[in-house]
Subunit: 142 residues, 2 copies
DNA sequence: CTGTCTATGTATAATAC
DNA sequence: TGTATTATACATAGACA
């Protein structure tokens, strides 16, 4: 977005890093504001400079209210996870991707694989959904 | 940034609004991530869709830790405001803004003002820097 | 609703002051 | 140290699948 392409790693030169920080920070805040206006959604953004200075943007009245909403959201999320964690193998969300891959592979290669029953399949579906969500999140970030 | 320029107001067509939300949200998260990597700073971003879904980005391990840092920052700020509301010359940062103003005024009006030596000037500079930082913080938060 | 394409509008890295 | 300019890279609106 400038004269040349930047590698995605920490800018080593202190001076350029500072300049880039200043420019990109305002750009980011501008875009956060645009998103909240155009799409009529709540947005909160916090940036701490390396020297501890705080820059923030918030679509509504106060960042505090957004943060409260975040806390509520986390609690609700936790409750719903607890609710269906009854069938889950681990607290934080099903099997590892490697495990899932093996499971799916067995299922595909051996259609009569006898350890599978409806309960297993329901759990498998849930794990795949989680894995899918995680993968999508990573994609957005790359 | 597309075929035509968008007005900065809520997009009325529900479908376009949703599409724009999806695209700009990923763009914003990507840029938040780039800022945190390139400039080696802490960034937290929260977006609530109109249907209450949460999308978030956080540069470190957990949003919680960033939010804690935010809370601390607010407390420190409150303390420093309280401090200079008293017109303090106290521990945490030099002279009151009123005192500084007088000092600078004397310096400007009387170039030969005799009480100034290098040590005083160094201290003055330090005080001005602190005052500047406090003013900037207030500006950012307003 | 998700992905793709592409013309255009924006953001910004480097540079000049 | 900013501030302004410019050349590029990037984001995305609209259209379509």
């Amino acid at each position: 977005m400038g004269r040349r392409k930047l590698e995605m790693k920490r800018i080593e030169d202190k001076s350029s890093r500072q300049v880039t920080f200043s420019k990109r920070r305002s750009g980011l805040i501008k875009k956060a504001r645009e998103l909240s206006i155009l799409c009529d959604v709540e947005v909160a953004l916090l940036v701490f400079s390396s020297h501890g200075r705080l820059f923030e943007f918030c679509s509504g009245n106060s960042l505090t209210s957004v943060l409260e909403r975040y806390q509520n959201h986390r609690e609700e999320e936790k409750e719903s996870k607890d609710a269906d964690a009854q069938g889950s193998t681990s607290e934080n969300g099903g099997k590892s991707h490697a495990e899932l891959l093996q499971l799916v592979q067995r299922l595909v290669e051996e259609p009569d694989y006898e350890d599978f029953n409806v309960t297993d399949l329901v759990e498998l579906e849930k794990d795949l959904t989680i894995a899918l969500t995680q993968t999508r999140n990573r994609k957005v970030l790359s």
